[in-house]
Symmetry: C2
Subunit: 340 residues, 2 copies
DNA sequence: TTTAGATTTGAAAACGGTTTGGCTGTTTTG
DNA sequence: CAAAACAGCCAAACCGTTTTCAAATCTAAA
């Protein structure tokens, strides 16, 4: 059923029908009611491709999916979905073919030129991220999930990584820990830098000299959590506390501790960042894991919301949100063991 | 830059340009070469919405994302993306608003009517899944990831869940285990039934009476893995082996065993199904986890491939793939402890 | 040298909507 | 009471392609 046929059915012109359904004011309420009702009854739905062609709107917002198969990704998207289900907006997942830099720029460029999306969400930006300048140049609306120092106006939402890790580290110091290790995310991304700042800041406040031997970074995997924690704990002067970047990392850290006969929460304290997953919760780990917590899903929902506002014309420069992060203390943190 | 302008630039009619770029045979190779080259140079790309309107193709395949925030989902999509990046095809993620049944049907119906996707991938079907009959009725091409007994012709790809669990269970029986527990996925889905069949089949072959007290099912979370394993192991006559449905479940099972002072691989054997995640590997668990293994990512890639073939006109009835599942033995399985 | 046949090309008609501008009546205003 | 403002509706142009049908050109056969 197309507009023309449907219009004939209700005895109106296509113009009026279109306006009635799109909520334009030039049509009387009684007519609008009749039209919407008939549309539902006869099952008329405007052809989405025609609408998109005519209006120039794509009806979708794009998310570029990295190669790494991040487990965070699904949660973020689930969150976005929660908000977008109400809107007539889809989520378009764009696969990243190559980790190559030039190639990634080319991907974004093609995505913009193809006009398949109305906006793009950029994840894990770097302090000066070329994607941001590119999108700005190309005039494509976008929202950055994370932060960047780049000198280009842009909307963003981020969590307070620095504050979170600072508080976590400070708390460990308060518990008497002096040798504290940190497993960060892949170097380069702003969030990793912020976390590093928080870590170093707390150490400095506590009068502790940071030890490069106690810092490592890499993908958020169980594997790396284990390897790094092992290497820390096997040093001559091992740390008594470890700050881990993710739940998966924490799993590896726990495993490393166990493998060395150390008890988490007594021999070695652990705090990790928890993005809140339905399938793996900090509270359920043994011992339960102290964590800095911020819901990835909620971030997805809010990002979707902000993108919608952005597209509705809200000013770029107003859209900056910095979320606080909770620190939840559980059993994995305890007083530093007295040196033997 | 639109077609008209571009055509003027190359000194040809829009018709010829369109044909040249779409690979039609009626245009001479020398012209085609010139056109493609110029298109690249001037950066001309057909407006995707116009193409879609005209051709009726949506250029996207849809995946409905459940509420549960499955961690498998991201891997599957990453796999799809790997294949689809070459095609001019997007992945459209459709959020499921409500776990309500009627509502889900309505969602599919609207999705089809909106013509936003050329095909749909249906996950975790039930033996008689109403989504399948609906899509068939509506004439929307679709591929089922999983299996269904429904009497409607449809393309599918599935892994041999029954065989996998049968082998896993048989192996445990060969090791001398007689009390074997099983943690299955959410009841209802065909895969859960198949796994159950494999489990019961193996027990029967081994002359073992299945004990309802040793069977449980639910979402694949660490939490449930723990709870179920605890309840099994605390029974008066506890199992000496547990078959777990997923990696997350296995994490919970390990935790339960540890919490009871049992050593996995000696006091209690564990086999789980591993969908192969980059961030959590069976080999790295402690002790390393014996697993039935099948790559979710590979399944995603292949499903995308099959959908493309389906859309290219390959017959429904030819597209049935049943993938074998590896059984990889590691340290978490050992001979049944001799009764004390 | 025609002529039929095969290649290439182009003009114009879709595809299914939205939106501009104009056209009626009807109500308000000076 | 005439002029102006307004409400409600419609015809037609347009969005940027693909594709049908016809025409032009070239090649090979008669």
């Amino acid at each position: 059923m197309k507009l023309k046929d449907f219009a004939k059915h209700v005895g109106l012109s296509p113009t009026t029908v279109s306006r009635a359904l799109s909520g334009y004011p030039e049509v009387s309420e009684v007519t609008r009611a009749r039209v919407t009702e008939e549309a539902a009854r006869l099952g008329y739905r405007p052809n989405v491709n025609a609408v998109r062609l005519k209006t120039g709107r794509a009806g979708a917002i794009g998310v570029v999916m990295g190669r790494a198969g991040e487990f965070h990704f699904a949660e973020f998207m689930a969150g976005m979905a929660e908000r977008l289900v109400a809107e007539e907006t889809d989520i378009l997942v764009i696969p990243m073919s190559d980790p190559d830099q030039d190639d990634e720029m080319e991907l974004y460029r093609r995505l913009v030129e193809s006009r398949r999306v109305d906006a793009i969400i950029v994840h894990s930006p770097k302090p000066s991220d070329p994607r941001i300048s590119l999108l700005h140049e190309l005039g494509m609306p976008f929202l950055v999930h994370g932060r960047s120092d780049i000198d280009v106006p842009h909307a963003w939402l981020d969590i307070d990584n620095e504050g979170a890790i600072r508080r976590a580290t400070s708390h460990l110091i308060d518990l008497g820990h002096r040798r504290i290790a940190m497993i960060n995310g892949r170097p380069g991304a702003t969030y990793a830098i912020h976390r590093d700042n928080g870590f170093r800041g707390a150490l400095q406040s506590g009068g502790i000299e940071p030890d490069p031997q106690l810092q490592a970074s890499g993908n958020f995997t169980d594997e790396l959590g284990f390897r790094f924690a092992r290497s820390f704990l096997e040093q001559p002067n091992p740390p008594t506390a470890i700050v881990a970047g993710s739940m998966m990392t924490a799993l590896g850290v726990y495993r490393a501790a166990r493998s060395l006969g150390l008890q988490v929460g007594r021999d070695v304290s652990v705090i990790a960042h928890d993005d809140v997953f339905p399938y793996l919760t900090a509270d359920n780990m043994a011992p339960s894991l102290s964590a800095t917590r911020s819901s990835m899903r909620a971030a997805g929902t809010r990002c979707a919301d902000l993108v919608i506002q952005l597209l509705a014309g809200r000013s770029l420069t107003e859209i900056h949100e910095l979320w606080p992060v909770e620190l939840i203390l559980r059993e994995s943190t305890g007083a530093a063991p007295s040196p033997r």
